[in-house]
């Protein structure tokens, strides 16, 4: 594995750690299995790409991408809270709808960003190679996002959101409007995914309609890997574990793809991810069975 591909794996890993933080909020904190991510990630990418393509400021474009994705999350939350559509189904509906919306936003299946300025070209110090600078800038963004989340979940509203996911009946009895908490959490979760999509488009040279396929599974894989390498009940540690999980996952993938003797190619990525997540999900079950047999 070359140094270049190591930096590349770190770069993509860090981008997906934002997705992982988003998935952590929906799946783990709100207890809301949310597949909207597969649509809000490319929505972020599409929004940022089209705006930059039309000459708007990359930071503004990224902000708009975050906002658009947050709205997508709110729609999923609203379908579930107000229209009583099952959580998983509500998110699938929005995900499918977003496929059309993303095509509309881009007005083409893809938008290349080759010569345009991006947040990376604007922040990059002249003394660093771009393949080194990008991961470092991303590291900063991810650390700020992690710190903000840690802070938020220690506030009164953050705690109210955690109780909503953990025990909604108790939360309501304490005067917490659980529906509003779901909306807010879904907005937050998808905003992170939209940010990831916007940064992905800017680091990988453009947005593509198919860039979102499997995002949710990669996010879940990161969460599960993170939880197993750094098991903890403390949220500050959990967010760190999830970030590490996303980066590690990308390294595993890069290793697997680089090891020619296995014979894996880039197109096998989603299959590998699915297998990896399945194994990670089954391991606790097998552990439990083994313990029962012993007892």
């Amino acid at each position: 594995m070359s140094v270049y591909s190591m930096w590349g794996a770190l770069e993509i890993g860090l981008i997906f750690s934002l997705v992982a933080l988003g998935v952590l909020i929906s799946f783990r904190i709100l207890n809301f299995p949310d597949l909207t991510v597969d649509g809000s990630f490319p929505l972020g990418g599409a929004t940022a790409a089209i705006l930059i393509h039309h000459g708007s400021d990359p930071f503004l474009a990224t902000g708009a991408a975050v906002f658009a994705a947050a709205c997508a999350g709110m729609v999923t939350g609203w379908l579930n809270v107000s229209l009583k559509i099952m959580d998983l189904l509500a998110s699938i509906l929005v995900m499918i709808a977003l496929y059309s919306i993303n095509l509309r936003v881009m007005d083409a299946p893809n938008i290349p960003l080759i010569m345009e300025p991006t947040v990376f070209t604007m922040l990059q110090p002249a003394s660093l190679e771009d393949y080194v600078a990008r991961p470092l800038i991303l590291l900063l963004i991810v650390l700020v996002a992690k710190w903000l989340l840690d802070w938020f979940f220690a506030t009164q509203i953050g705690l109210a959101m955690r109780s909503t996911g953990s025990n909604p009946r108790m939360a309501r009895a304490q005067g917490i409007h659980t529906g509003r908490m779901v909306l807010l959490g879904m907005a937050l979760s998808n905003a992170l995914c939209g940010l990831a999509g916007a940064l992905f488009a800017q680091s990988q040279g453009g947005a593509d309609i198919s860039m979102g396929i499997g995002t949710i599974v990669i996010g879940l894989a990161a969460v599960i890997i993170g939880e197993s390498i750094l098991p903890s009940r403390r949220l500050v540690i959990i967010t760190l574990a999830v970030v590490l999980g996303a980066v590690l996952y990308r390294f595993f993938v890069a290793l697997a793809l680089n090891a020619d003797f296995i014979g894996l190619k880039a197109q096998d990525l989603n299959l590998i991810t699915a297998v990896l997540v399945t194994v990670a999900l089954v391991i606790p079950l097998i552990k439990q069975r083994l313990q029962k047999k012993r007892a």
Binding site: A154, T155, Q156, I157, R162, S166, M170, R172, A173, T178
Partner: protein, 264 residues
């Protein structure tokens, strides 16, 4: 004070499994009174409690708390007036949050929640002081996950949590039913202590007639979604379980007679 006026509620109306859970339930509880509620299965005890807390919407009737009509309010909108301890010790707390986080949630019951830190040092002093009165050593375990506590401990903490913020009515839903006899006794004693200390208006639903007579100052019996017996003061002081049973049989007999008259 609490005033429930002529509450009616039918589950699955118009179907073969139609259940008339509340049939003109009326009950007034003056401020500071501790009422125990008994009744057989299906008498409407839990439904009545859920109607007051707002978890269950009613078909008709009115619920007033301190003179304010709360009939149409959602659970979270009446939480500042109503405190509650559930039957299931797991239901009243968030198991993956710490003791202090759970208590902070309860301290904010019905209050506006902001982006201020949820658990602050001044709160910890209060939490420690309250937990110390349990004598369980929990005051030294503030950051422990509440899921690590036993059912009895969690129920005791739930009681403390219910009393952290002033309420107009405290609802106890068979809150000792899931505990072993010794722990149940401990939690019941704690209940009497907390209610007396804070002068709480309290409604305690129980499955045990013994319990219903031992604590509180008034006992109400429900049957077929209505109050059929209401004893307090001197009439209640001399009462024992067999007396209560006899009264219950008598009342039920009358109702059956009524029904057969109607059917006939």
């Amino acid at each position: 004070m609490l005033s429930a006026q002529n509450l009616h509620l039918t589950f699955n109306p118009g179907t073969p499994i139609e259940t008339r859970a509340l049939r003109g339930m009326s009950l007034d509880i003056p401020t500071g009174q501790f009422v125990t509620v008994i009744g057989s299965n299906g008498a409407g005890k839990s439904t009545f409690l859920n109607a007051i807390s707002g978890e269950q919407a009613i078909d008709s009737g009115r619920i007033l708390i301190d003179g304010e009509d709360v009939t149409g309010l959602a659970v979270w909108d009446r939480a500042h007036k109503v405190a509650r301890v559930f039957q299931d010790p797991m239901a009243g707390t968030c198991e993956n949050l710490s003791i202090e986080e759970n208590m902070s949630l309860a301290l904010g019951r019905g209050q506006f929640r902001s982006l201020r830190r949820a658990v602050r040092d001044d709160m910890r002093v209060l939490f420690r002081e309250r937990l110390a009165m349990l004598g369980l050593g929990l005051e030294n375990r503030l950051t422990d996950r509440i899921g690590l506590l036993s059912g009895g401990q969690r129920q005791a903490v739930s009681l403390l949590m219910a009393a952290l913020r002033p309420s107009r009515i405290l609802l106890l839903d068979e809150h000792t039913a899931a505990l072993d006899p010794r722990t149940a006794r401990f939690v019941l004693e704690l209940t009497s202590r907390i209610v007396a200390e804070h002068g709480l208006t309290t409604m305690m639903v129980t499955h045990s007639m013994r319990q219903a007579l031992d604590v509180g100052e008034r006992t109400v019996m429900l049957h077929h979604g209505k109050v059929v017996l209401d004893v307090s003061g001197d009439a209640r002081t001399g009462l024992d379980v067999p007396d209560l049973l006899e009264m219950f049989e008598q009342v039920r007999g009358e109702i059956l007679a009524d029904d057969s008259l109607l059917l006939g």
